[in-house]
């Protein structure tokens, strides 16, 4: 059986413009057709790692491989169609929902999949297509951003804290939608989150990054039952206690 899309990081280092390293020697292979939560404290290098996978950024050392080939050897726009991305905020373009959803295919002069079908995939009603995006709620906008990414028919979807600006209800609905996509279409999803509860709800696998290094990776169930690494144990424990600096109750 051919496993594709096979995404691997091979001893990846990313330098910081201020000196030092943002990522140091990360070796990793993402499981195909499953949802991997990329977790770690704020500033650990999660967003940087994600941006290497669709070449919004390149590593200073090491390689990123897709199906065994260095991503720098494929045409960059074709790569970005195969590996889609949704950011923390929707960043929709001014205009209607349909115009946004068609953006990717339209930029190549293609019509792309039917807008109604894409909206259905993210649990939005078809009549939303002609609405202007500025009138939508935050949760609806983020779903439109998802549909816009899906219009390229990507094999991998990168999500960088996509629910960070949503209320708890909208967050749960987006989680459900993405889970559905993984189950029904076999999409590979890499979901950055610093919310352990969210990772526990959505992930099949977990990758823990701490201070630019890969601390631990494995099945989500195993990780939450008991992390294998000391860093993993500390991170899990630290999240359950009051945050450092938030002030402890006086004894």
């Amino acid at each position: 059986m051919v496993l594709t899309p096979r995404l691997e990081l091979e001893d990846v280092w990313v330098a910081s413009p201020e000196g030092g390293w943002i990522l140091r020697g990360v070796r990793l292979r993402f499981p195909e057709r499953a949802l991997t939560a990329l977790i770690g404290p704020s500033g650990a290098g999660k967003s940087t790692l994600l941006s290497l996978l669709n070449r919004l950024r390149d590593p200073d050392r090491g390689r990123v491989l897709l199906d065994g080939r260095d991503v720098r050897e494929t045409e960059v726009r074709a790569l970005r169609r195969r590996v889609g991305m949704v950011l923390q905020r929707p960043y929709l373009f001014p205009g209607t929902v349909a115009e946004n959803v068609r953006f990717g295919p339209a930029s190549r002069g293609e019509s792309g999949p039917p807008v109604e079908e894409l909206l259905a995939q993210v649990a939005l009603p078809p009549e939303m297509a002609e609405r202007r995006v500025d009138g939508l709620s935050g949760g609806e906008q983020q779903r439109v951003a998802l549909a816009r990414a899906l219009a390229n028919r990507p094999e991998v979807l990168l999500l960088d804290e996509p629910t960070a600006s949503l209320d708890p209800g909208a967050t749960l609905r987006v989680e459900e939608t993405v889970r559905q996509l993984v189950e029904t279409t076999g999409l590979t999803v890499i979901w950055v989150t610093h919310d352990l509860g969210q990772a526990r709800r959505v992930a099949d696998y977990v990758v823990l990054v701490m201070a630019g290094e890969l601390a631990e990776s494995g099945e989500a169930a195993g990780f939450f039952a008991g992390p294998a690494s000391e860093a993993g144990r500390r991170f899990l424990a630290g999240e359950l206690l009051p945050r450092e600096g938030a002030g402890r109750a006086p004894a």
């Binding site: 070449r55 919004l56 950024r57 720098r72 074709a78 991305m85 950011l87 960043y91 990414a149 390229n152």
Partner: protein, 264 residues
């Protein structure tokens, strides 16, 4: 106007000095330096133009135009600090704006091919193109920063840099042209532009002066349009590398203040 009267005009600078001194504005030094520079620069320009007009030699005229263009490009290029090739957008923008506008003026026989027309009119074309080009690049930097999320989202969808930068580019080209468009709307109501004032003082009839002013205002819409568009197109690409990744210039300390606009 005699040279003695020119010296008498220093009385106006003296008044400004008194204001600065009594109000503790601390502008005395700048005022004196500025007045001396203006005196020297303008007198020198006067003598150069006097010679150029009398010799009527085209190589000499071309030399004067080239020197003016050089100063304009140098000046507008400061706005692009942090970009890999910051002088390229104003260089191409200003030179093309000058070439296109001057060619139209001469081909349509709106002005005679004489130094006394070509040089001052070129000064206005290049001065306004310089301001437009600087505005475009400045605005483009701000827009790319402010819309970083939208630009990255578009790139992530497989868009070309050109498409990803579409909104920042459009906004900055607009920013370059807006002063000219606004001037078209208010000219004659708020102020009499410098060129018209000069013509009136030199004894031209108001009807004649107004015709030249109309010519100047309309031609400047071509100049700033061409300069803004070319500067925008040559600047936006510098925000992306060969791998079509967004590369924002490092946030620099704000450069020295911009002085006034160009003459119209």
């Amino acid at each position: 106007m005699s040279f003695v009267s020119v010296l008498v005009t220093l009385v106006f600078v003296a008044v400004a000095l008194v204001v600065s001194y009594t109000q503790r504005l601390d502008l005395e030094r700048d005022l004196v330096v500025g007045a001396v520079r203006a005196l020297i620069q303008l007198l020198a320009m006067g003598y150069v133009l006097d010679v150029v007009f009398r010799l009527a030699s085209w190589p000499l005229i071309a030399l004067v135009l080239a020197a003016m263009a050089g100063v304009a490009v140098q000046n507008a290029g400061q706005r692009g600090a942090g970009l890999p090739r910051r002088f390229l957008p104003p260089a191409v923008g200003i030179v093309f704006a000058e070439a296109v506008t001057l060619a139209l003026l001469l081909i349509l026989r709106l002005i005679p091919a004489e130094a006394r027309y070509v040089i001052p009119i070129s000064g206005m074309i290049m001065g306004n193109s310089m301001v437009a080009s600087g505005l475009v690049v400045n605005r483009l930097k701000a827009e790319m920063r402010a819309r970083r999320g939208e630009v990255l989202s578009a790139l992530a969808l497989g868009a070309s840099p050109r498409l990803a930068a579409q909104i920042p580019l459009r906004e900055s080209v607009r920013a370059g042209m807006i002063p000219t468009v606004d001037a078209l709307k208010t000219v004659g109501l708020v102020q009499l532009p410098g060129m018209m004032t000069g013509l009136l003082i030199a004894g031209a009839s108001p009807l004649q002066a107004v015709r030249y002013q109309i010519l100047v205002m309309f031609m400047l819409s071509t100049s700033t349009g061409v300069a803004s568009m070319l500067s925008g197109f040559l600047a936006y690409r510098q925000f992306f590398n060969a791998a079509e990744q967004l590369v924002l210039p490092a946030e620099a300390a704000p450069a020295g203040g911009e002085r006034g606009g160009a003459a119209r």
